[in-house]
């Protein structure tokens, strides 16, 4: 059966996870991900939603062979630090790519994929991952 507390904890982040929506400081223009209540640059508290383009490049990566619970079916999978073209660096899975094809500086784009499934009867979590661009 459901685990209401856990479901609501994920649900609050759908926009950020599905679409890569972060924050932009209305005072100094600094963009960050995930969105924070206070600007990490100037301390301003007027932060608006910011839609990232989803384009970026791999700055570091590794292959996960012993994943945490809920991710076992996807192993082994690559996880990377991706520098978005707008500046922020996000930690995310890479998908549609073989480990030997991954390289530092490799261009990637955001896609929304299944991230985790909670048992046979639980919710399915979708979220951002990155893959080599289609063209």
């Amino acid at each position: 059966m459901g685990r209401p507390m856990q479901v609501s904890r994920y649900w609050r982040h759908f926009k950020e996870k599905y679409r890569l929506i972060g924050g932009k400081c209305k005072n100094c223009g600094h963009v960050h991900f995930p969105k924070r209540p206070v600007c990490p640059e100037c301390g301003g508290k007027d932060i608006e939603d910011f839609q990232f383009s989803g384009k970026g490049k791999v700055v570091s990566w590794t292959i996960v062979r012993n994943p945490p619970s809920g991710y076992e079916y996807y192993k082994p999978y690559p996880i990377a630090l991706v520098e978005l073209e707008e500046g922020p660096v996000v930690l995310a899975q890479l998908t549609d790519v073989d480990p030997e094809e991954i390289d530092f500086g490799m261009e990637v784009e955001m896609v929304t994929r299944k991230v985790r499934e909670f048992e046979e009867d639980g919710i399915i979590l979708y979220g951002y991952k990155f893959r080599p661009p289609i063209k």
């Binding site: 599905y18 079916y73 996807y74 549609d96 929304t112 994929r113 299944k114 399915i124 289609i134 063209k135």
Partner: protein, 350 residues
Amino acid sequence: MRRLLKPIKDVGIVGYGAYVPMFRIKNEEIGRVWGVNGFPIQEKSVNNLDEDAITIGIEAARNALKRARINPREIRALWFGTESKPYAVKPSATVIAEAIGATPDLDAADFEFACKAGTEALQAAIGFVGSGMAKYAMAIGADTSQGRPGDHLEFTASAGGAAYIVGEKTSETLAYFEGSYSYVTDTPDFWRRQHEHYPRHGNRFTGEPAYFHQIVSAAKGLMEELDYSPSDFDYAVFHQPNVKFPLTVAKILGIPKEKVLPGLLSGIIGNTYSGATLVGISAVLDIAKPGDRILWVSFGSGAGSDAFSLIVQDAIEEKRELAPKTMDYVNRKKYLDYALYAKHRGKYIM
């Protein structure tokens, strides 16, 4: 008695987008496991481990938005046709709507009618916009379809989909609808009961009374109502469970093979079920010229067909370049052996 479906306002496609997963399995490889030879197609697409009908729908929808260049908040309905919904109870359409930034001012629902769920959603979108109720409506057809291991459907059941944004006809419209027609009869050619993993089908029953009867009747019905003959069309896309069936339909209707081949992708990606004709049409829109007339006929078991006549407009030339082409996805491929394919399709019970 008018049988043609035509809304009060003229409507058309303002954006379209396709998506096909990158993995493939060859029919030869499936045949090796089950000791079969003589195959309906060459190879079929297979979803990645982290893909399902929803994620396929999301990428197709995003491509449609890139071409439409509209604010997703202006979409008043998002209808998703699929027979492989990730949740038995809980709409898939809401996930897609959220992922493309269309929420919350819209209607969203999942449509079901075997392989014609996508065109069924499209008929509804045409009505919704054509009545003046909404500025834009999006119809999506996507599936990660399953065939019972070893069954002949396993050779073709594949993954993919496409999305269409319908809007009132303007110079920005890529292609407009001249009219549509729907034909249904109660025909038990294919079904799946609650709690069963794989569908069943009436074997030989699937061809004549089901597929051929519905598609040919729908195509003829539409042409009669519009007063067209097969030679009035520059392209034709028919539901494609394999390569032979749609080519046979073309022959019955007297449409030359050359007009069907550009939108006939089942030989290299398989049968994407609810996505099948939507993906085929997207491949045609990628190459069609302004002024071309396209015949589009889907088929869904159970059974029925939706038929549309589309005229391509000038805006196609610029807008088709705004998102990846269908063949960009079709040509991106990695082969799986049967063991890995079975993992991708969730065929191992753990």
